[in-house]
Amino acid sequence: MAIGTAIVRVPKEAKKGEIIRVQMVITHPMTPPRKDPQTGQEVPPHNLTKLVLLYNDRVVSEMNMGAGVSANPFIALPLKVEESGVIKIAYEDNKGGKWEKTADIKVV
């Protein structure tokens, strides 16, 4: 899959006030600064730097990360839902990549 594509898994439904788990997997190499012995050159890092979790356009959580997070990162964060709406993750990397992914949830 292309760099920056994400799979977001949330329950389809939740009770009002329930704390759900937002699980995501983002395709990204997350390479740290490297030295390449074949070329003798330094290779700059390519990693996600920030991920924001939003609910109905409100910022819920912000995660800063570096290349210490594994490639194709799996991240799970909690979210307390009081009303139905749209869960959104907005994330970026250190080479200008900027992406978003949403998932709907119904609160009963």
Binding site: T31, P32, P33, R34, K35, P37, Q38, G40, A67, A71
Partner: protein, 140 residues
């Protein structure tokens, strides 16, 4: 007329295939020849796509300041173990999988050292230092 074009195209394709076959093995050969002329040993690094242990070694071992500096005394050749060249050399050296580093003396055609797996950098340094000592590589 059509037959003529068909004939020409098949000749060209045959030439391309032969050229590719000859050239396809040139990468490692070039590096081995370079090592011989520069009086250096060769370090082959066998890797494979999607192997997280290779990423581990590239992130933490080769990128280490000390290891990187020592490796500059060798001719470093990175090979995909599934490529034609890679699989041929892997068979020759008895490479068990990836990541594998093989230290090779091109003049005597002998393997000087072999390390398999995502070992800590100290293990790599031990094997590299042994080769440096054996061959009296002063800057290593």
């Amino acid at each position: 007329m059509l037959l003529y074009y068909f004939f020409m195209i098949s000749i060209i394709i045959k030439l391309l295939v032969v050229g590719l076959l000859l050239y396809g093995n040139a990468f490692a050969d070039d590096k081995i020849n370079r090592a011989i002329s520069e009086n250096k040993l060769v370090v082959f690094y066998f890797k494979s796509q999607f192997c997280s242990y290779c990423a581990q070694v590239e992130d933490f071992v080769f990128s280490d300041e000390e290891v990187f500096k020592k490796l500059s005394n060798f001719v470093f050749v990175e090979l995909d173990i599934r490529s034609d060249e890679g699989s041929k050399l892997a068979r020759k050296f008895g490479v068990p999988g990836t990541p594998t580093v093989v230290i090779y003396d091109p003049k005597t055609d002998k393997v000087v050292g072999l390390i398999f797996g995502s070992r800590p950098k100290e293990d790599y340094l031990k094997t590299i230092n042994k080769a440096c000592k054996l061959y009296n590589i002063k800057t290593c």
